[in-house]
Symmetry: C2
Subunit: 264 residues, 2 copies
């Protein structure tokens, strides 16, 4: 199935919920503390608890790479444990010269088996192209990020328009297979008019609600009428909703609550 | 030892040679073809053959990640096999929101044991800071990359000055531990005046000679009188100088030849 169809199907209608699988060891429930595959085993339970509400899962590779070979193995197993009708977004923010980006695409899509990867645009068009050649796989290109420092470069004005607008326009040029979306942080509401006008009909991945402070109800209003699929991500506020023995129920409740906020 | 001192010591004087450990399976000599640890075993021989001339080694993580868990393990072992007086630069082009960049720093410096990592600047200052807090570890921040698409964003003008100048100025603000350098591609000679004026005394990592077309002699002339350490990287032109049984001698000769071009 091509990426565009899978993404649409995963969301059904409305705004899709994306659960960020970024486990923090100190916040894992006690039963996972002496477990050599704690990340994987925890993720399996989180996936099971939240799958009724989730369209997508997004492991951030940093939280696995820090544990070296074991972390990479647990990431691989986590991807396999995600139901096949969900979108798996590898949050990796990769981007390198062409031949190297090709190797990263192999890592993400062939070796790890993700549906999509996040890509950082600083190296320009030929660094992004190797990620968009397969219609069954997609990317979300960083446009406006959710962190405070996002403004340092992304909002610099070039001939009166911010850098992120140039990035969005490049994304549109690469979207002939309908497998190119944008990352737009939920924490910058003043930029949304501009972003949506330029994005036209590119899919959106929206991090920054929950722990980072973005408001899901505001996002719902902003996106009303936007013609393309949108996924809103929450990581810590769902997976670490509780560190007690009720972690699975707490994650389920947090996912259900956010889903309702997003879909009215 | 702090990064700044180790870098200076590794170069002695003149321009340092950095060998890019980016093995391409199709170009490995025959004896490595049916070897489950071909990347690692090949790297060990390349390191041995080139260490007389090399100040630094730079594995690009993409070429290991594509082989999943085995690739990651071979990368870890490769880092351990590099002599301790050489600088190990993990070419990873990472960069994420603060807490995630912190996890990437843990992956690079604690788990893999690199001395330095390349960092991509699109997410701004707070995405770079977590990589520069340890004085024994450093970064090379992407300023001007060697690929043709590098110009797409890096050379856009903001108030008359290109984006890469803003990146270089941020690098200088973060360099209080003298562990922040810049990546500047050898393929853009017309930008060097501007780059060196802004860089002032930041260390440089210069990819793009050899297969990508940058001219080592031109680089030597440009850098004459620059007061900080500079490493010029070559990957394929050294490690895949020959795919025949003379691969080690060919790599040694290619390293020696480039070292001489760089140092007159």
């Amino acid at each position: 199935m091509n990426f565009s169809t899978k993404l649409l199907n995963s969301i059904n209608n409305g705004i899709g919920l994306c659960v960020g699988l970024d486990p923090i060891p100190d916040r894992l429930p006690e039963k996972f503390r002496n477990d050599s595959e704690s990340l994987y085993n925890f993720n399996c339970e989180i996936i099971e608890a939240t799958k009724e509400f989730a369209s997508a899962y997004k492991p951030n590779l940093a939280f696995y790479e820090r544990f070296g070979v074991s972390g990479w193995e647990q990431l691989r197993k986590t991807v396999k444990a995600i139901p096949s009708d969900k979108i798996v977004i590898l949050d990796a923010k990769r981007g390198d010269i062409g031949s190297t980006s090709e190797a990263y695409a192999g890592a993400a899509f062939d070796s790890l088996g993700g549906d999509a990867i996040t890509v950082s645009p600083y190296l320009g068009r030929d660094s992004v192209e190797p990620f968009v050649t397969r219609e069954q796989n997609g990317i979300f290109l960083l446009a406006v990020t959710s962190n405070p420092g996002g403004k340092d470069f992304q909002e610099l004005l070039i001939d009166g328009e911010p850098l992120y607008v140039y990035v969005i326009r490049m994304a549109r040029l690469l979207a002939s297979k309908r497998n190119v979306g944008l990352v737009v942080g939920a924490t910058k509401p003043s930029l949304w008019d501009n972003v949506l006008r330029e994005a036209v009909d590119l899919p959106l991945l929206i991090p920054g609600v929950g722990a980072q402070g973005g408001d899901p109800v505001e996002i719902r209003n902003i996106l009303s009428g936007y013609p393309a699929p949108a996924l809103v991500n929450s990581s810590r506020a769902i997976i670490h909703a509780s560190s007690g023995s009720d972690y699975a129920v707490a994650a389920r409740n947090a996912a259900a609550f956010l889903f309702d906020q997003l879909n009215g």
